[in-house]
Symmetry: C2
Subunit: 445 residues, 2 copies
């Protein structure tokens, strides 16, 4: 068994979620979305709540289903965080239809029917929200809100864990720096970060890190107490290290000792440590932490309604691979920025080339083995669906997404707390629903 000391630090490493979620699910059918609603469960209600309704450390407890349905909105109450400031000015509100028209749109979208991936009976859009344990969903069409609903722990003033959508923000910031000439993606990582010369990362190119085609050893065999995930978790934990601890301290010390596995450039392997490596690279070349970069390049300039935040390791380094929490409407602003190639509210925040490069996609031949995105690729920490709508996405475990459909001029953002981590379980009732609503919006024009 894995020592509890290590397991308790695993959320900081962003990956043991797969374990806790799957472990919970493998036993039995999980509670439904309505039955596992945190308000129905009664988590953290009362002063104090009843003992069995308190959600507390460690993350193997607070981030297991159904407790995770509360915790996804409250990560800062468990972990140290750094602020991604929106600045001090007035926000720029999103544009809404008149209330009656908005209600009509909602009713029409709720009634849309689609067939889940892999077949099965038709499902309505509204039913899919519950099937997917949705916490918040917002759809923009041609820059205007056409749909917005909240469930569970979330409301319009709340913040929700972005999980691996954090990677896409890191990747966007990196691509901005590439286009601006601040970051040369053809360099070796060791050219920029000499500290990783002895690590497998040292001989990879920046582009390979951005596209996750590095050849690095990063085992997630949870049954093996010597698996890399536990070393990473212990390094990443923001809590004081136990006495006698001798492993790497913080994300970056971990990255400096990663071993090789396979060849760089050979294949896409989805490994979070690439995103942390990219975070280090863009901090070094820009002179700003990823949180400060996100603030100065995005949050302060996109009319954001809320500050966001990012979990940190014990040395204050933000978790570039999964530590972001933010509001749903600000997530929508990020999506709109991607759809409109760097423009929002009449302002250009970065060159259109940034999005063009991301949308050009990665090598589909290297992407084999992702059944719900059969023809996809991964580029600059974004998922390309390469479907007829040229859709691309940010994705995070338990159902987080920014889904951009350029053909339909649609941005769809969703926060969720699906019982299992892997999106393979949630894509079948999500991706075809997105296409259904995109087609509806296009037909309505």
């Amino acid at each position: 068994m894995v020592p509890s000391r290590l397991r308790s630090a695993s959320l900081a490493a962003g990956l043991a979620l797969t374990l806790t979620g799957s472990a919970a699910l493998s036993q039995q059918t999980p509670l439904s979305a309505k039955d596992s609603d945190p308000r129905v469960m009664g988590w953290m209600q009362g002063f104090p709540p009843p003992a069995d309704k308190i959600i507390t450390q460690p993350d193997s407890v607070y981030f297991s289903f159904p407790k995770l349905r509360w915790s996804v909105c409250h990560l800062r109450e468990f972990l140290p965080t750094t602020e991604i400031s929106r600045g001090l000015g007035a926000p720029v509100p999103l544009t809404y239809p008149e209330p009656a028209a908005f209600a009509d749109l909602r009713a029409e979208i709720d009634a849309l029917a689609f067939t889940p991936l892999g077949g099965g009976p038709e499902m309505t859009w509204e039913a899919s929200l519950y099937a997917n344990y949705t916490d918040g969903i917002l759809i923009l069409h041609k820059g205007r809100v056409v749909y917005e609903r909240y469930f569970g722990c979330l409301d319009e003033g709340g913040k929700h864990a972005a999980m691996s959508m954090t990677k896409s923000v890191t990747g966007l910031l990196a691509e901005i720096l590439v286009v601006e000439g601040v970051l040369d993606d053809s360099l070796l990582v060791s050219d920029i970060i000499p500290e990783v010369s002895a690590s497998a990362f040292g001989s990879a190119t920046v582009r390979q890190v951005m596209d996750m085609t590095t050849g690095i050893k990063y085992s997630e065999d949870y049954a093996d107490p010597d698996a890399d995930i536990w070393t990473y978790s212990a390094a990443a934990s923001p809590f004081p290290k136990p006495e006698g601890y001798v492993g790497p301290d913080g994300y970056w010390e971990y990255l400096a000792q990663v071993q090789p596995e396979g060849q760089h450039g050979e294949a896409f392997h989805y490994k979070t440590v690439n995103s942390d490596m990219l975070g280090w690279i863009i901090s070094r070349v820009s002179g700003q932490s990823v949180s400060d970069l996100a603030s100065t390049r995005l949050w302060r300039r996109m009319g954001a309604e809320q500050d966001a935040y990012q979990t940190v390791d014990g040395k204050g380094v933000p978790f570039a691979g999964g530590g972001l929490s933010l509001g749903l409407r600000d997530l929508a602003r990020l999506g709109q920025l991607m759809l409109d190639k760097g423009q929002i509210n009449g302002k250009r925040l970065f060159p259109a080339e940034v999005v063009d490069r991301i949308r050009a996609g990665g090598d589909q031949a290297k992407f084999a083995g992702y059944p719900t995105i059969p023809n996809g690729s991964y580029s600059s920490q974004w998922w390309l669906l390469h479907n007829e709508h040229e859709a691309f996405a940010a994705r995070g475990v338990h159902g987080q997404t920014i889904y951009v459909d350029p053909v339909a001029e649609m941005v769809l953002v969703r926060f969720a707390s699906f019982p299992t981590a892997a999106n393979g379980g949630i894509d079948p009732t999500s991706l075809p629903a997105y296409i259904a609503v995109a087609n509806y919006l296009m037909a309505r024009d």
Copy 2:
């Protein structure tokens, strides 16, 4: 010696700061304000910073001078926190003079001279800012900003630890609930919180808790490993409890086992646990955490520019006695609300009686022994100076203050990171300076 496990949790208890600050100072003359400026010290600069410039756990390290000069602006990066939301609307900016007039005002105030308490050579206002290790200071006169400067780790977009000014926010919220009839301050605490019936708090009245005239045992003998402060610190720590830990878990379990010492109502004793008890009381009667109360009653309604935040224990309970961090301008808004008895931006947030009751003060006869406030009292977690300007204040260790001068219609707010915790060391170059600037502003009318 005190076990490091306990000491590392002491900031969550808000009081060991006295120890760490004093310990640092007793050795030698501390660095000056300019020499200890975090930017001059080079703390946390670079990706990563040099090893000896990284500020990390435990708090006995990160909250000792001179590192605390950086850490006061970054507490959320060390500790879990909860948000005090300002909501989603536009802030209401403070009112400023024209730039030229503002610059003139600054020059005139900087040049003001005063004699420190206890005598000694005259000092200018500007020199006092450095003598006091000021991080930010803002003065409102008749509701308009007349002075605003930032130093060290702070700027107008940053947030700073309020330390024990947190108590005054808790006390204000309590007094609002008293005036609204939601909280009966004549009740025994055990009438409201039966869980503390066996604790010394159970037989105190709510008013005695508000005014800190309870008779409770709370020893802060740092040399004694069995002192209450260490039990409190361990209970309050938000980090996972060590294996085998059997003490109280969280602020509230600690409060339920406090022992008596002396008689309730006999004398004022400044003990932070009263503020935590008050936080529990107002949460129970209002159905909101102190952070949510602060948000709904103050932050969402006062035109705040920033969200604030509050540290929490391992069960998510906000530290009502010291956990608040906020922006300087929002601190000024709180002060203006007190001066204007519940009104700001043309809106009434609470009845004027709330401030009248606080300003009526506590029993000066019970207040003996505070040499820098010789005729003072303490009421509803606010300090009354009972001077000819009827000044009253929120105060926190290391130099935090909201100073309200009703006669001069002046609100002065200051964040600081003075090397020693106790305000006895900083009052001599602060309180007479406040009177000097108040007199200047009155003469200028």
